[in-house]
Amino acid sequence: MDIISGVLAGQTRALAKAITVVENDRPGKKELLRAVFPQTGKAFLIGITGPPGAGKSTLTDKLISRLRRQGKTVGVIAVDPSSPFSGGAILGDRIRMQQHALDDGVFIRSMASRSHLGGLAKTTVDVIHLLDAAGKDVIIIETVGVGQDEVDIVKIAHTTVVVMVPGLGDAVQIAKAGVMEIADVFAVNKADRDGAGKLVNELRAMLEMSEAAWQPEIYQTVAKNDTGIDELLAGIYKHWDYVRQAGIDQQKFRSNVERELITYLTDGIVSLAAAHPGYGRLLDELAAKRVTPLEGAEKLFQELGLNCNWEKREE
């Protein structure tokens, strides 16, 4: 069986190989994505984000168990940062999830972010498409993120769970980091520790000031002891119902594919520019301060036969 029909039939080996093709821009990527694309948009995408060590992987592990008991198949993408020095990475999220290693209904894949910003790898959305087309009912995407700028997952997931732990900072810091804007559901994990109640109260006080249509709920969990997980999962599904009723899943799909389009466009234009014969000379001129980066970009666009003007027109 070839890789495409293998993916569509939900075969583990084919899916694993397909992800490698997509992740490494290998030959066949375009055909693969073309073939699976019509089959995407079915899975429920749950983002789990928060600071390192908050318990995201442990929570994911417990959520997988619940979802499996409900008969749902689960895909997990666990993204960790690549080392900025070597480009390598240690991907250790699976440590907490190995009880599911032999379950055919669970497919877990670790991804290094490969210096892409925002907590995701460049190809994470394509990998989501593959898991989706392979028939996973729920896809959990675990990313490390603390502040708003680091959390691209919110744009992609239907429901974003922000995992917080007591003792990492007060409400002002939470507000500064923009965490309030990104959470659909809060998990205050490590609720066995001092300060969980205080954190919940602070979050609640901040949420009361929000006028957003969806009011996130706060769940206390002790992931390590499997406590509070049923309630958390029910809260996640409550938000999913809201998402579907409000048609947010359609909007998300649209913004997801736009995000991907932009990624490919950016990639393409940068490599076009870098391959331009005048590129090296332009860099010299920038370094010598004869040309500003803005002028340089404009000039390059012109030479590529494109017209791009960054100055906003008067209204």
């Binding site: 583990t12 080996r13 694993a16 190989k17 992800i19 490698t20 490494n24 821009d25 690549s82 080392s83 020095f85 070597s86 480009g87 390598g88 990475a89 240690i90 991907l91 250790g92 699976r94 440590i95 190995q98 290693a101 032999l102 497919f107 877990i108 894949r109 670790s110 290094a112 490969r114």
Partner: protein
Amino acid sequence: MAKRIKVLIAKPGLDGHDRGARVVARALRDAGMEVIYTGIRQTPEQIVATAIQEDVDAVGLSCLSGAHNNLFPKVVQLLREQGADDILVFGGGIIPDADIPGLKQAGIRAIFRPGTPTEETIRFINENVSE
């Protein structure tokens, strides 16, 4: 983009000491590889399922409990059964000289004992991972 080598570092067997495995994992990361680490006490079945899902290029097995003669060949055998024998398997840990020929025979391509410079492991992986 240049292909990044992906390696699973796994600890089969019942011993709970993973310092050596962690040192190797860090060294491989510093050499630019992507390293999946799954923690202690993994069964050969779990290791193979993980290697397949993660589609790794190589699996490094570390075992200090003395059960390597059973566990390492078992991993190779299960990979073969899954048609994944293109994955390079190497081992580390406390392994007597006398066991090495048998392990190599069984398809463990190299054994690195405690004290082996990590450069040697890195060179081995770089030279032997199939494209």
